[in-house]
């Protein structure tokens, strides 16, 4: 039996495989670090910065930083959770998020993070950007008001669906999602309901038409358990280690 290398996460050891990042190793070991743009099925992206942790004194994104033996990672600290609260507040202030009328309420990662981290207000002046919805497609609605620019749909459509239906354009605060058609409308793309891109949006941008509120609010994913517990349940479990 070969011992796997370990690092310390908030004072407790986490074993990891070479090539895993801090967040991947933590989730596989049943340890939660808050995150938003990371998705277990995709290469880490590192843009939302919610998983920022202090590693040997420096702050880094846990999702993209390779785990290394002997690292001291501080994540569940007031400093880091305070930072995460501010980042979540920034995302709420940046877009137009009206939870009570949102079809994704209760299934929304941004909202769930807000509850779990104890975000009580947006904390900043809302920017109220003008982001018209795209209702051109017969079966799919795009509500850009809620986009947090995590690029999961971009990644899913290009890496899994091999279609490139979504991309980002603009820069800075004007960065926005665009779709792959000359008209700029979703109806003219080759997106299908069965695409991976249809299921990865962590917020309420990519919606199926005519199925809204099929599950009542109160009985949804993060209504049943907080995201800190749900994320661990969703994390890919490691194959049994210790006998190799």
């Amino acid at each position: 039996m070969i011992d796997r290398p370990t690092f310390s996460l908030d004072g407790r050891e986490v074993a990891f495989d070479t090539g895993q990042t801090i967040l991947q190793a933590a989730l596989a070991a049943g340890r939660y670090i808050p995150h938003l743009c990371y998705h277990p099925e995709f290469r880490p992206h590192g843009s939302c910065k919610v998983c920022t942790a202090r590693v040997d004194g420096r702050t880094v994104a846990a999702c993209t930083t390779p785990a290394a033996a002997g690292m001291e990672v501080a994540s569940d600290t007031e400093e880091m959770n305070g930072l995460r609260r501010t980042l979540v507040q920034m995302l709420f202030a940046e877009g137009n998020h009206f939870c009570p009328s949102c079809e994704t309420s209760g299934n929304c990662v941004l909202q769930a993070l807000g509850y779990d981290l104890g975000v009580l207000t947006a904390g900043f002046r809302h920017m109220f950007p003008v982001r018209p919805v795209d209702a051109s497609h017969p079966d799919i609605l795009l509500d850009f008001n809620r986009c947090v620019l995590c690029e999961l749909c971009v990644r899913a459509s290009s890496e899994v669906d091999r279609k490139g239906v979504f991309a980002l354009s603009g820069r800075g605060i004007d960065k926005h999602l665009v779709v792959n058609s000359e008209s700029g409308e979703l109806a003219d793309t080759d997106i299908e309901l069965t695409d991976k891109a249809m299921e990865v949006c962590p917020v309420g941008v990519i919606l199926r038409k005519r199925v809204g509120f099929a599950i009542p609010i109160g009985a949804r994913r993060y209504d049943r358990r907080p995201i800190s517990a749900q994320a661990l349940q969703d994390a890919p479990r490691p194959k049994a280690h210790g006998h190799d």
Binding site: P44, G46, S47, C48, K49, V50, T52, T59, A61, T64, P66, L83, T86, L87, M90, L91, A93, E94, F124, R125, M127, V148, L149, S158, K163, G164, V165, F166, A167, L168, S169, G170, R171, G172, I173, D174, K175, V178, V179, N180, S181, E182
Partner: protein
Amino acid sequence: MSTDTTATCPGPETERQLRRVLARWGGAPTHLVQILREAQERCGWLPPATLSSLASALGLPLAAVRGVAGFYAFLHTEPAGTYRILFSDNVTDRMQGSEALMEEFCRQLWVEPGKVSEDGLVCVDRTSCTGLCDQGPGLLVNGRAIPRADRERLALIRELILERRPLEAWPDELFEIADNVRRRHVLLGSNLRPGEAMRAALERGAAVERELAANERSWREGIPDDSQGPLATLREIERSGLRGRGGAGFTTAAKWAACRAAPAGIRYVVCNADEGEPGTFKDRVLLASHAELLLDGMTVAAFCVGARAGLLYLRGEYHYLLAPLEARLEARRAAGLLGRNLLGRRGFDFDITIHVGAGSYVCGEESALLESLEGRRGIPRNRPPYPVTHGYLGHPTIVNNVETLCAAALIAMHGGDWFRSVGTPRSSGSKILSVAGDCARPGLYEYPFGVSVREVLEDCGAQRTLAVQVSGPSGRCIDASEFERRIAFEDLPTAGAFTVFDDSRDMFEVARNYIEFFAHESCGFCTPCRVGTSMLRGIMDKIHRGRGSLHELEEMSRLNPVLQMSAHCGLGHTACNPVLDTLKRFRPAYERRLQALRFAPDFDLDAALAAARRATGRDDAGAYLEDER
């Protein structure tokens, strides 16, 4: 560039032009930024049909092409005017009167800033620092740089536009840009012939080889000839203590050695000539008047690390330098200084391709620069891995600043000890400062590292100096109590900008200009920088409007640690510096603007009632909430 926004664009001629552009860049999607830039030259913007046709030719999704085009400030996916006049918007341009000039220019042309005139003829807008701070205000007209904008020159430009005179027929005098070199030291004072530094590097290697051959007992005997030559020069670079001149100050020899050691068949040398830090313009002069030294430096670097291809990333604002640089490359090829078997040494192959930027400050960050070189949006990469092992197209790559490569050429010529004898123990060699702002003699000043701020101020004829911004917005602002500090990595590190403010300047407005710059240039990849810089801009504007309170100052102090701790790259890490530095040293400049010491709402109820007053025709005291009108 003669532009044509009429129905002929796109048309058959455009199709032919697109095919030529695609062929020139080998139809490679990795050259998308260059292809888009050149495709735009015909009609001044990228119509949807052009984007579609490029997307299908390159096998890329249209959305991805649109995403790249939408990232760069100088690529336009909407009509941008036959004449596009951009006013450089660095604080030095503003100090030279750019805002009033632009306002008057717009008024005379009957246009609103940022909007194309109804006949499609002209669009006037602002752009980030164009690197003409010593001869500003700077302009870009359809991408061509024009210095020293004043009322007379703008009147002439207006006439030329209204006459619809093609840019090629505008008087040359408008485009003349001065070097303004005020103080020369080892670099600006050097006068090497093209190829001389390369020859010295080869000769040094040959000397080592002869020595080894003569010494039978040398344990190195088994090492093949080829590895000794480059190592001899690499050792000189190491001995010199040379550190990167682009701002970060990484040890050049360590970077080169890591790239050389990375297992690979292909390696690249990249010259970062994307000089975007507001207030910096030294690379412009080096590229214009010391290009041979730079090209020698790139070739020496290639020799040391074992690269066969070099890329020079020229900032879009310096597009006018492209043709002269290309001519130099051609002359070097003819002289055997580029191409195969350089200087007759078998297997020493190296050539250089120039890529031109398209208006993005973040691309000066080395990994964002590589993304842009690969035809993508200029987003800094996640690291590790670092460019020295996984750089351009995944191959080991060194990315060095223009000034660093010039210094490397000098070291190859004169040796590491010679270089080390200049400067301070931890900052060897010289530094070129781009001095601008309130001084009698703006321009380039080259000093040995360790020069005091006061000495520079005296040399450039600065008087009643209130503050100096060292290394641009991402650097530090210092006041008179710190003028004995020294320009060196161990005290005040700098990428070159040295911007002087006298006691007539309002340091709040200086900071506000810098914050606007960061918000405009944020790539938008990470939450803290994308949202944070935009919030900072909103707060500074609110204070500027006289609607601020202590709440705003506290909010900015709250944003700072968020940006410092979690931003993806240096832009975000340093975005709060201008506010923090000026708040610490010039707090009254902020406080006298604060309306209340607690909270003041940005919403002005009285102003909002103006429409009601107009509708009812009332203008009496009772129609106002407060007394003052």
